[in-house]
């Protein structure tokens, strides 16, 4: 299966929510210890703890960057719990591809970044 679909490549080349939010001071960075890739992220929440906005910067492969981009679109209006509940299968179906175990690690880094960022705020 070609995991480099048009959609994934498009999100990789033009990631949504790319760039840190100027009005949020807290950002956190997560690493993939296997490859040294990083995502730095800021998440804004509303008074009901729903995600209002996301901004990120990353050094990562197409899979990790595209996942972070798609995930950012998807989680607006969601809670931390909603993000925690996402399974690797959910993420693969969001991407529309099936990944090998080593590439799943690339794909779930973004979810970890969001969760860690929300926990950090709490």
């Amino acid at each position: 299966m070609d995991i480099y679909s048009e959609i994934i490549l498009d999100h990789y080349k033009h990631p949504h929510h790319h760039g840190l939010l100027s009005d949020v001071k807290d950002h956190i960075t997560v690493h993939n210890p296997l490859c040294g890739d990083t995502i730095t992220i800021e998440v804004m929440t509303d008074p009901h703890d729903r995600i209002e906005n996301v901004g990120f910067e990353s050094t990562g492969c197409a899979i990790s960057t595209a996942t972070m981009s798609m995930l950012s679109d998807r989680i607006i209006g969601k809670t931390c719990e909603d993000v925690i509940q996402m399974t690797p299968e959910d993420i693969q179906s969001m991407l529309g591809v099936t990944l090998s175990p080593s590439r799943i690690k690339c794909a779930i880094l973004g979810q970890e970044a969001v969760v860690r960022s929300l926990e950090h705020k709490a």
Binding site: D2, C35, G36, C61, A62, R103
Partner: protein
């Protein structure tokens, strides 16, 4: 290479299309090595050293004979200088725990090159943390070779140990070990050489290069996984503490006193990797049969060819010295992450590695988070490189 050696590797025979360019991670195993391991398991499997019956004597003899084979291969004077370990990492940790922790003190310095794999970096970081000694980094020049002037300036009576790799597992830089040891010895410093990427590709002579410690792994030299070697000068091994205590390494044990066996057995606590040591012996003989110079020439030809072809690809940056470059080359491609390069190569059945290669300080120096890396073995051919170049063009097409 006089003949194509691919036919001697069952895995490469079974998957005839596989282009295997990840030999720095681990090499494939030739039949002669597999046969020796199989023979041990099916004809004379027994534990060594203590058995008073034929197959145990046979196994002990085969195990000890590999010490001779290895000693000759690396130019060691005596078989007692050859310690079997689980691999390079364990060999280096043995020196760190057994020697450095008791011979290095606050105020001393350990020099480590910027090229090092984490296994020749982290143990020294920990030794310095425990002893209060200071770890200093010998930097890399812009041509990817070690800055020997900086090294000369760093040497002083405070330096107790210098840790360098024979060949970098990222850039393929080949270090001038005999010069490094000569300079260190003028100040009384010892030198540990990480030979993991060296032994299967270049002639490594511990006597000629005057190394104090030399570490390497079987699995990167056509041998089995789970075995490695530490060589040490006799006076250093004599002053080194064991780090695995248990059976096999003791002489007499009572409540009052424990005495240890002589070097090297005192460093081989527990049942050693017997089958793997036997396989390692076969791997050394396999390399010697082909001839290390022949291997070196073949890989040099491949590396020059790859260097030339890769340089022609637009937007590709090579991290590989032109002089003294070995059969390992790292590169990056503009706008494309190394993981994606490797994943697309994989769809064409080409195995290359992408990542930080357990050398994060070096990645930082190179200004990247990861590289794509190819590394050759004796079975690789120019056609393998041609296939890679085609795949890299396909990678570019996808991402442009």
């Amino acid at each position: 290479m006089k003949k194509n050696l691919r036919s001697q590797f069952p895995l490469l025979q079974a998957d005839n299309e596989l282009v295997y360019l990840d030999n720095a991670a681990t090499t494939q195993t030739p039949s002669v090595v597999l046969d020796e391991i199989y023979k041990y398991y099916t004809k004379y499997r027994a534990n060594i050293h203590r058995g008073i019956y034929d197959i145990s004597e046979h196994a002990s003899g085969a195990y000890e004979q590999v010490r001779e084979i290895v000693a000759r291969f690396i130019g060691a004077d005596d078989i007692s200088q050859i310690i079997f370990t689980r691999g390079t990492t364990e060999s280096i940790n043995l020196v760190a725990h057994g020697w450095a922790e008791t011979h290095v003190q606050k105020g001393d310095e350990i020099l480590v090159s910027e090229l090092e794999h984490h296994s020749n970096f982290v143990p020294w970081y920990e030794v310095c943390k425990k002893t209060g000694a200071q770890m200093k980094i010998i930097s890399l020049s812009d041509d990817f070779t070690l800055d020997m002037d900086a090294y000369a300036r760093m040497l002083s009576k405070k330096v107790k140990l210098v840790c360098v790799t024979a060949i970098s597992n990222v850039t393929g830089t080949t270090n001038d070990i005999s010069t490094i040891t000569r300079m260190a010895h003028e100040y009384g410093a010892k030198v540990l050489v990480d030979g993991a990427q060296g032994v299967a590709h270049r002639s490594c002579d511990v006597e000629k290069d005057d190394m104090d410690f030399f570490a390497f792994s079987g699995h990167k030299m056509y041998g089995p996984t789970g075995v490695g070697v530490l060589y040490g000068k006799p006076e250093l091994l004599a002053s080194m503490d064991p780090f695995l205590y248990g059976g096999g390494m003791v002489d007499l044990v009572s409540l009052e006193e424990v005495t240890y066996r002589d070097v090297p057995t005192r460093f081989e606590g527990g049942t050693p990797p017997i089958a793997q040591v036997i396989g390692l012996g076969a791997a050394v003989q396999f390399i010697e049969t082909i001839g290390i110079q022949e291997i070196c020439n073949h890989e040099r030809m491949l590396s020059d060819y790859a260097h030339e072809k890769l340089s022609k690809i637009d937007g590709l940056t090579l991290f590989h010295p032109v002089i003294n470059g070995s059969s390992i080359l790292s590169f990056s491609m503009k706008g494309i992450h190394p993981h994606d390069i490797a994943a697309i190569c994989n769809t064409q059945n080409i195995a290359i590695r992408a990542g930080h290669h357990c050398a994060q300080p070096l990645m930082k120096r190179l200004g990247v988070s990861a590289t794509a890396r190819i590394s050759f073995g004796i079975y690789n051919t120019k056609e393998d490189i041609d296939a890679l170049i085609l795949a890299l063009h396909a990678v570019q097409e996808k991402f442009i």
